[in-house]
Amino acid sequence: MTNKDWPLWEIFIRSKQGLNHKHVGSLRAADAEMAVENARDVYTRRSEGISIWVIESNNIHASDSSDADMLFEPSNTKVYRHPTFYDVPDGISHM
């Protein structure tokens, strides 16, 4: 058995109360508890976080980068989804 058998984990850190957990990197660990302990040592040595999520990399399903156009292009033409699309006459406030 070698290190290969230690699964890869993706690490997410909440930097402070009120903010999202954010992906910071990955590491290898035998199990989730060890992943949390290692993440604490590797990614929070300078008060970078107050909470850690670890997710085994195998469990992450990603969109295919070659599908990016198909997936994300359509929204580029829908400018009416943004408030700046609309004319608001002078004198109107709080809108």
């Binding site: 290190n3 230690w6 990197g25 035998a30 040592d41």
Partner: protein
């Protein structure tokens, strides 16, 4: 979906690079780009890990508790940096185990500076000041490297490393202002580490065949010689400030260019150390190999323990 031929893919890829759009792990990339990155990032990772050895040598003999805590924190950082970088090679499809075995077999290189011995406490100062100083000069432009995971790892590394150089300079400053023996120690460390530190930037541009392609791919942003010059220009004044002498009789300031002109680097020595004939090459690789072999039972035990814990949980 339209299938692009390799010429179109290559063109689109270079277009992205030219427009400073980062390349991410699942994006198409030329095989040579992938291989270049795997080679460079894994060498960088090895350098971080092997780099712990010369400094680890002094942790138990640090002159006081403050210095010991600082050195320990620095060496711990280097371990983390190795990890970030190995993770970046894994995003390119490299197998971490193979990558590490390549180091142990001598197939993969690491920074030649770590093949020099650390003979006195002053060497901890010289390493932080000069070696980390040179590394930072190399690494800051890498934060803008075209490959996303490498660039992000470098941002983290640079952030953490900024104290490394300062703590080294502080050690040198203290010694240089101490007793005559202490000052001699500092000067001796500078004498031994100055030239190897200049070699850290790699061969001169004329002898660096891969550099141009790396610049085109924006893996590299500045040439070896440019970075080396930047390092010399910054460091000479620092040495003067603490009353130490750069061991280079040819060093002089050139008013016209605004740069320091420095003496010829002993490239023969550089290539010998790279080839494995430096003072500590064998010792360093032996230490790494032993660490892996002696740690095997721990890695196995951790897996066995996690399997046991999983059974208990499901019961």
């Amino acid at each position: 979906m339209k299938v692009l031929n390799s010429e179109e893919l290559n063109r689109k890829f270079q277009e992205k690079i030219d427009n400073d759009i980062k390349i991410e792990p699942n994006d198409w990339m030329p095989d040579a780009y992938r291989q270049t990155l795997i080679r460079q990032i894994s060498q960088h990772a090895h350098s971080e890990v092997v780099g712990m050895l010369p400094e680890g040598n002094w942790i138990t003999r640090a002159p006081n508790l403050r210095r010991k805590a600082v050195l320990l924190a620095k060496v711990q950082d280097e371990a983390g940096h190795g990890l970030y970088l190995y993770s970046a090679t894994e995003t390119l499809g490299a197998d971490r185990e193979d990558t590490i075995d390549d180091l142990h077999s001598g197939k993969a290189k690491y920074s030649s500076i770590f093949n020099y011995p650390t003979l006195s406490w002053a060497d901890m100062g010289a390493i932080g000041w000069l070696v980390d100083g040179a590394a930072i000069m190399n690494q800051v432009p890498l934060c803008r490297c075209s490959y996303g995971p490498y660039a992000r790892a470098m941002v983290r590394v640079c952030k953490e490393e900024s104290f490394h150089q300062r703590q080294g300079f502080e050690i040198m400053m203290k010694l240089a202002n101490g007793s005559p023996e202490q000052k001699d120690m500092a000067q001796d460390a500078l004498n031994r580490f100055w030239w190897p530190a200049l070699m850290m930037f790699g061969p001169s541009d004329d002898d660096s065949p891969n550099s141009q392609q790396s610049m085109k791919w924006k893996i590299k942003r500045f040439s070896n010689d440019d970075l080396r010059q930047q390092f010399v220009d910054a460091t000479v004044a620092q040495a003067a400030l603490i009353g130490l002498t750069i061991p280079d009789p040819d060093l002089k300031f050139d008013k016209k260019s605004g740069h320091y002109i420095f003496g010829e680097i002993n490239w023969n020595e550089f290539y010998e150390v790279v080839k494995g004939n430096g003072p500590c090459n064998k010792e360093r690789i032996d230490a790494r190999r032993k660490a892996k072999e002696n740690g095997l039972w721990v890695r196995e035990a951790a897996m066995a323990f996690s399997a046991k814990r999983a059974i208990k949980k499901s019961a």
